[in-house]
C-alpha cells in the first residue's frame, strides 16, 4: 500500500484521535489559567466548525429537496401537487431571505404568521397523540403497567389543585415519587449512557465504529 493511500485511509481516524485526546486534556483545566484559556478557545473554535459544516450542508439539502420534488411533479407521482406547494414555499422563503435578510420584515412576517402558526398546530395535535399513547399504556395488562398508571395518576392529581383539597398530602407523595424512585432510575440511566458513550469513543478511536470516523 502506498503511503498516500495509507494516509488517505487513516486521516479521519487520526483527526478523531487528536481531537478526542485534546478534549480530554482540556476538560480538567479551568479558563483562569493561560493554558486552560487557550484550550477552551480552541474547543470553542472546533465546536464552531460544525456550524460551518451545517451551513454548507444546507446547500446540499436544498438541492436534494428541489431534485426530489421536481422529479415527483414531472413523474406525476401520488399527491404530486403538494410538491408544487413545497417548491413555491421554498422560493418564497429564499426570496424573503434575500430581500431583507434573516431578521428582515418579510422573513419576520413569514416566521410569525406561517411558521409559528403551523408549529402551534402541530403542538395541538401532539396533545391528542399523547393522550392516545397514555390510554394504551395505562391498560392494566400487568403489574408494571399498574405501577406506571398509579404513579402517573398521583402526579396528575398533584397538578390539579382541587385534589390537594380532596386528598390532603397527595403533593407530598407526588414529590417523593419524583425525588426518589424517579431520580434514582434516571441516575442509573445516566451511568449506563455515560459508559456507552465512552465505549463508542473507544470503538471510534480503534477504527471499529464505521460511521463514527473509524
Amino acid at each position: 500500500m502506498s503511503i498516500l493511500l495509507y494516509i488517505r485511509r487513516n486521516i479521519d481516524r487520526a483527526i478523531l484521535i487528536f481531537i478526542t485526546i485534546f478534549m480530554l486534556i482540556a476538560y480538567p483545566l479551568a479558563t483562569t489559567t493561560d493554558f486552560g484559556k487557550f484550550m477552551t478557545d480552541w474547543y470553542t473554535t472546533l465546536a464552531g466548525w460544525s456550524t460551518l459544516l451545517g451551513a454548507w450542508a444546507i446547500i446540499v439539502g436544498v438541492f436534494v429537496i428541489v431534485k426530489n420534488n421536481v422529479m415527483n411533479v414531472v413523474k406525476k407521482t401520488k399527491d404530486w401537487y403538494y410538491d408544487i406547494v413545497t417548491l413555491v414555499a421554498l422560493v418564497i422563503f429564499v426570496g424573503a431571505g434575500f430581500m431583507g435578510g434573516y431578521t428582515g420584515p418579510s422573513m419576520r412576517w413569514l416566521s410569525t404568521y406561517v411558521l409559528q402558526a403551523v408549529s402551534t398546530a402541530l403542538l395541538g395535535i401532539e396533545a391528542f397523540l399523547a393522550i392516545s399513547a397514555y390510554y394504551r399504556a395505562y391498560r392494566l395488562k400487568n403489574i408494571e403497567a399498574a405501577v406506571l398508571m398509579i404513579s402517573s395518576l398521583i402526579i396528575l392529581m398533584w397538578m390539579g389543585p382541587i385534589f390537594e383539597y380532596l386528598i390532603p398530602g397527595i403533593s407530598n407523595v407526588a414529590v417523593w415519587i419524583l425525588l426518589n424512585p424517579n431520580s434514582a432510575a434516571q441516575r442509573a440511566m445516566f451511568v449506563g449512557i455515560g459508559l456507552g458513550l465512552i465505549a463508542l469513543a473507544v470503538r471510534s478511536m480503534l477504527g471499529r465504529e464505521r460511521y463514527g470516523g473509524g
Binding site: 426530489n68 411558521l115 401532539e126 397523540l129 392516545s132 458513550l197 473507544v202 470503538r203 465504529e209
Partner: protein, 258 residues
C-alpha cells in the same frame, strides 16, 4: 486554577477508558466475552420479515435532533449504524426501505449506510435514491413530513432511533395508527418515557450505542460492550463505599470536590 471536582471525574474516565481499550485488544488473543441478545434488534428482524410478508416498506428515521454537536451527534452515529443493519436486512429479504432525515449535514453518511446494505447483499438494483427523503427546517417540519409519509406509504415497520425530540409521540402514534410495528430508541432521558410508551421494541439508553457493535459481530467491539457491565459494577461498589464512608463520618464530600 483547576476545575472543581475534576480529579475523580478524570480518574474514573481514564480507568474505564483504559479497561475498555484492554478489553478490545483481548479479542485479538481470541478472548471474546458473551453478550445477551438485544430484544430491539430481534424486533428489527421481525419487522423486516413482517414487511416482506405484507409486501409493504420499512421506514427508518434517525430522530429529529440529529445535530453535529454533543451527545446528539454520537446518538446519530449509533442510529446510522442501525440504519446500515436494517438496510442489509431489507436487501437480504427483499423489503423496500424508506429513510427520512431532518438535517442535511448527515446526508453523506445516511446515504452510504442506506446503499451499503444493498451493495453488500449484491442487490444494487434495489437502491432507490428517491426513498431517501430530507425534511429540513427543524423538528416541526420533520415530524409533519414523516407523519405524512407514513400515512401515504403505510409501512409495515417504523424504526425511529437516535436523538429523538417530540417525534417520539408524533411518529410513534402515527405508526400505531397505520398498524405498523414501532421500534424506537434514544439516550435522551427526557424522551425515553414517550419512546417506551409508543414503541413495541425499544433501545433503552446505552443499548442504542451498543447496537452497532452487536450487529457487527466483531469480537473487539463486542468486548467493549461487555466490559461496560464491569463499569456498572464498579460504580455500584463506589456508591456503597461512599455511603459507608459518609455514615462513618469520613469527609468524602470535600475529597470529591477536589
Amino acid at each position: 486554577m483547576i476545575k472543581t471536582g475534576w480529579l475523580l471525574d478524570t480518574i474514573l474516565f481514564w480507568t474505564i477508558f483504559i479497561v475498555l481499550f484492554i478489553g478490545a485488544f483481548m479479542a485479538k488473543q481470541g478472548k471474546t466475552l458473551k453478550l445477551r441478545e438485544l430484544l430491539a434488534l430481534e424486533g428489527i428482524r421481525e419487522g423486516v420479515g413482517r414487511a416482506v410478508e405484507m409486501n409493504k416498506p420499512v421506514h427508518f428515521s434517525p430522530g429529529a435532533g440529529t445535530l453535529l454537536t454533543g451527545d446528539w451527534a454520537t446518538q446519530t452515529v449509533a442510529a446510522i449504524g442501525i440504519l446500515a443493519y436494517t438496510s442489509r436486512l431489507c436487501a437480504k429479504y427483499g423489503a423496500r426501505l424508506l429513510v427520512s432525515y431532518p438535517y442535511a449535514e448527515w446526508l453523506p453518511l445516511i446515504e452510504e449506510a442506506y446503499r451499503s446494505g444493498f451493495l453488500l447483499e449484491g442487490k444494487p438494483e434495489m437502491i432507490r435514491p428517491a426513498d431517501l427523503q430530507p425534511y429540513l427546517g427543524g423538528y416541526y417540519v420533520f415530524d409533519t413530513g414523516v407523519m405524512r409519509r407514513l400515512m401515504d406509504e403505510r409501512p409495515a415497520t417504523v424504526i425511529n432511533v437516535g436523538p429523538i425530540i417530540w417525534d417520539s409521540i408524533d411518529i410513534g402514534e402515527t405508526a400505531k395508527r397505520i398498524g405498523a410495528i414501532m421500534i424506537g430508541g434514544t439516550a435522551r432521558l427526557l424522551q425515553l418515557p414517550y419512546v417506551v410508551l409508543t414503541s413495541d421494541y425499544v433501545f433503552i439508553g446505552e443499548e442504542l450505542y451498543a447496537a452497532g457493535a452487536f450487529t457487527s459481530g466483531d469480537p473487539m467491539q463486542i468486548n467493549t460492550v461487555a466490559l461496560q457491565d464491569l463499569g456498572k459494577y464498579f460504580v455500584l461498589v463506589m456508591l456503597v463505599l461512599g455511603m459507608i464512608l459518609l455514615a462513618a463520618g469520613v469527609p468524602i464530600i470535600q475529597w470529591l470536590s477536589i
